[in-house]
């Protein structure tokens, strides 16, 4: 049977250096990003501040953010770039200006790259198509959060292996590693990006959560992704326990018994010490302490939560350098 897939046969092209989804990232591209991250981290301040001097980067945020926004902004500034922040609450977006027109305005003001956070899945694709600029997806709806997955990868490589090991990757770098991602998978862009990125490097990803928050459709995210609904069983097999927040703002009428959820899925000290005493504990934030994670685990020795934030700054620096075709990417992006 002839399969008709002419829709979209005329694909728009996205600017080099865009990061819209991890789905289109090759292992060698991931490796190059990690290498540049390591290189930038070692550079003296002054040298680093010269890399993007005179360049302009816009941060366009339609949703609130602490970590992602601040780390992108600090990363851009540390590289010498000029940044401007536009948020939906204090701009013409409130007056009904479209994403396209907002993007074109930023471009006309000199932005060479736009970092976008948006509540609509796929919004970064629209912005990249309409502006022709490199766009970094800083989280779009329930779709993806690619820079988060990359910083999670670097955190895993650094903590479970070594800083040296985190300088480059192959499709076997995470072989033998099992990562449990637990909680509100349905609404989580972090879960999607990690579940698509980590298996590219050989990891096995166990998704864990109740059916309401983790439909069977998730299995088709790609190879290396499995579903284990029993949290204890998932934990016992994993070297990394990545916990997710229940996204109340996206539940859309879905009803959840929080007491039952806590009993089944909370990562607490007792669970951790009995089932995964050496596992790395991760959380993309924001955490709701006492719900998906207990205080003692969040602040305990197995927690890598603060390091994740730290790696966020480093990885996002490399992504900005890549987006603007500078640093080690200068020759790669002709």
């Amino acid at each position: 049977m002839q399969s008709v897939s002419e829709a979209g046969s005329v694909r728009s092209h996205y600017a080099e250096g865009s990061l819209l989804s991890v789905a289109n990232l090759s292992v060698s591209e991931v490796s190059a990003i990690l290498a540049e991250t390591a290189r930038l981290e070692k550079l003296p301040h002054a040298e680093r501040a010269a890399i993007l001097r005179g360049r302009t980067i816009a941060l366009l945020f339609y949703e609130s953010s602490t970590r992602t926004r601040t780390s992108f902004e600090l990363a851009a500034k540390s590289l010498g770039a000029t940044t401007t922040l536009v948020s939906d609450k204090s701009s013409s977006i409130e007056k009904g200006e479209s994403l396209k027109d907002t993007g074109l305005t930023l471009r006309a003001l000199g932005a060479e790259c736009i970092i976008l956070r948006h509540s609509s899945s796929g919004a970064p694709f629209v912005l990249a198509r309409e502006t022709g600029l490199p766009v970094l997806n800083a989280g779009d709806g329930m779709h993806e959060h690619p820079s988060q997955a990359l910083l999670d990868l670097r955190t895993i490589l650094t903590r479970l292996y070594s800083s040296d090991y985190a300088r480059s990757v192959t499709d076997r770098s995470l072989e033998g590693l099992t990562v449990a991602i637990t909680g509100d998978i349905l609404h989580s862009r972090v879960a999607r990006s990690n579940a698509m990125l980590l298996p590219k490097l050989g990891a096995r990803v166990l998704l864990c959560g109740p059916v309401k928050l983790l439909p069977e459709d998730a299995l088709e995210l790609g190879p290396g992704v499995e579903i284990e609904r029993d949290f204890d069983r998932a934990l016992a097999q994993s070297q990394v326990a990545m916990m997710l927040r229940i996204q109340k703002e996206r539940l859309a009428g879905l009803e959840l018994d929080l007491g039952d959820y806590i009993a089944r899925y909370q990562l607490n000290g007792e669970r951790l010490s009995s089932l995964a005493p050496t596992a790395l504990v991760m959380h993309p934030g924001p955490m709701i302490r006492g719900l998906e994670i207990s205080d003692e685990v969040a602040d305990g020795p197995q927690s890598a939560i603060e390091q994740q934030v730290h790696h966020g700054l480093a990885v996002r620096s490399a992504l900005l350098v890549r987006a603007l075709g500078a640093g080690a990417f200068e020759r790669a992006t002709v």
Binding site: M1, Q2, S3, V4, S5, E6, A7, G8, S9, V10, R11, L20, S21, A23, S98, L99, K100, H118, S120, S121, G122, A123, F125, V126, E130, D140, G141, M142, H143, E144, L186, R189, R192, P215, D217, A218, L219, E220, L221, A252, G253
Partner: protein, 434 residues
């Protein structure tokens, strides 16, 4: 007296069981004669059309189009929409009522059907089933029927409440027209922008489950049973743009029981799957959404085995700025009048071996029957001279920029088509030629 003589063509007229060389004489908007080749040798006419190598068929009829006038003429007008229809081989179209304001009174219906609107082809309309299409209070079916309504629908929305749909079916049965239902249980589709399933999950989009369509179809069929039993009426339910196997199953079963159920399938539902959404291509966003491959294959099977009665485009023009935005914010719908025949011939005739006669049945004969368009859907002598002439073997590529529609929102830009319309003749007037 205007005459057109169509010579040397192959007439495909399923209503009369004809698929053979025939010459046609059209006079004063009617078919004056259908004769074997050679009969008209030496005859004179104002216009002689050499149809050698062409199929001559009753003009196509689309029971489901959105012409956007009044109220949204930046998307389409009756003039531009019907010009697109003519280019697609259509001689009659049925306008849906979701204009601004909604077509729910005799005055609005008459305004729409007034020749002053400039329709290029024959324009019919289905007014709203409920006032304002709000789903609560029925419009005046008898008065609207007398003013020309060929059915009733709240298209774009379902008639959701059981008792309202029941009343609509009863009133429509008395007026001897169908209720044309947009089958969507909107209680299951809030905030959804594509088909539910693995693709929606991966893209982080909320998905419409197939049950949302099937449940309303099943509910409506249950109402038909109940009305036949208790009222002694025989209501006609027409199910719009069927997209799921489960709805096809329900329709097939209802037909076996002898209930009066017809249905239409849109070209995009037999041509494309949810994979066409790609990286958030809003030209692949419509309602009902593109479904999974198994459902697409089932739509083809239904067109082949006869469960599906007709092809209707759900031509739904939108301005570029409306489609060029975030996927979940973009409006539903695509244009379809100029690509329907090309897709049907390529995918169903060439792809599935469906006869040209069956294609014409799906696109003209049966649509005319569903909406009781007297004198149309066939080229028997005395009927309206609504004719399409097309080269069934011509391969071409659709270019959206060349569309007669005011809008360009199609997933078929650059897509291969089979069968090129050469002439469209509506009531004896040539309204399109290429």
């Amino acid at each position: 007296m205007s005459e057109i003589l169509i010579l040397n063509g192959r007439l495909v007229d399923p209503a009369n069981g004809i698929d053979a060389p025939r010459d046609l004489l059209l006079r004063d908007g009617r078919v004056a004669a259908v004769e074997s080749p050679g009969t008209f040798v030496g005859a004179e006419a104002a216009e002689v059309v050499d149809a050698a190598g062409l199929i001559v068929a009753p003009g196509l009829i689309d029971v489901h189009v959105h012409l956007r006038e009044p109220g949204q003429i930046y998307k389409e007008t009756i003039v531009t929409g019907t010009a697109a229809a003519a280019a697609g081989g259509y001689t009659s179209v049925v306008a849906m009522p979701n204009t601004v304001p909604v077509n729910d009174t005799v005055a609005k219906l008459e305004w729409m059907l007034d020749p002053a609107r400039g329709s290029v082809v024959k324009l019919f309309a289905m007014p709203a089933a409920t006032i304002g299409s709000m789903g609560a209070e029925l419009t005046d079916f008898d008065a609207l029927r007398a003013a020309g309504a060929v059915g009733f629908t709240d298209d774009g929305k379902p008639v959701l409440e059981d008792h309202v749909m029941r009343a609509a079916l009863v009133a429509a049965a008395r007026a001897e027209v169908p209720v044309s239902q947009h089958a969507e249980d909107t209680r299951l589709t809030g905030g959804c922008s594509m088909n539910a399933g693995p693709v929606a999950f991966r893209l982080g989009l909320r998905g419409m489950p197939v049950e949302a369509e099937a449940r309303i179809v099943e509910r409506d069929i249950q109402l038909l049973r109940e009305i036949e039993r208790s009222e002694g009426l025989r209501p006609h339910l027409h199910v719009q743009h069927v997209s799921t196997s489960r709805a096809i199953d329900a329709i097939r079963q209802a037909r076996r029981e002898g209930l009066h159920v017809t249905c239409e399938i849109a070209p995009h539902h037999f041509a494309l799957t949810e994979e066409a959404v790609g990286d958030y291509d809003t030209h692949a966003k419509m309602n009902p959404p593109l479904r999974a491959e198994a459902d697409r294959a089932r739509m083809i099977a239904a067109l082949v085995d006869g469960t599906a009665d007709c092809i209707a485009t759900d031509h739904a023009p939108h301005a570029a700025f409306e489609k060029r935005q975030e996927f979940d914010r973009a409006p539903n719908g695509i244009t379809g009048l100029e690509t329907a025949l090309g897709l049907a011939l390529r995918l169903l005739h060439r792809g599935q071996g469906l006869s040209l006669s069956r294609i014409i049945e799906l696109m003209s004969t049966t649509p005319a029957a569903i909406t009781s368009l007297a004198g149309r859907g066939t080229l028997a002598t005395g009927h309206f001279a609504d004719v399409v002439l097309f080269d069934a073997g011509a391969e071409w590529t659709f270019d959206a920029t060349a569309s007669r529609s005011k809008s360009r929102n199609t997933p078929f830009d650059g897509a291969p088509m089979l069968g090129k319309v050469r002439y469209t003749i509506c009531e004896g007037r040539i309204v399109y030629r290429s």
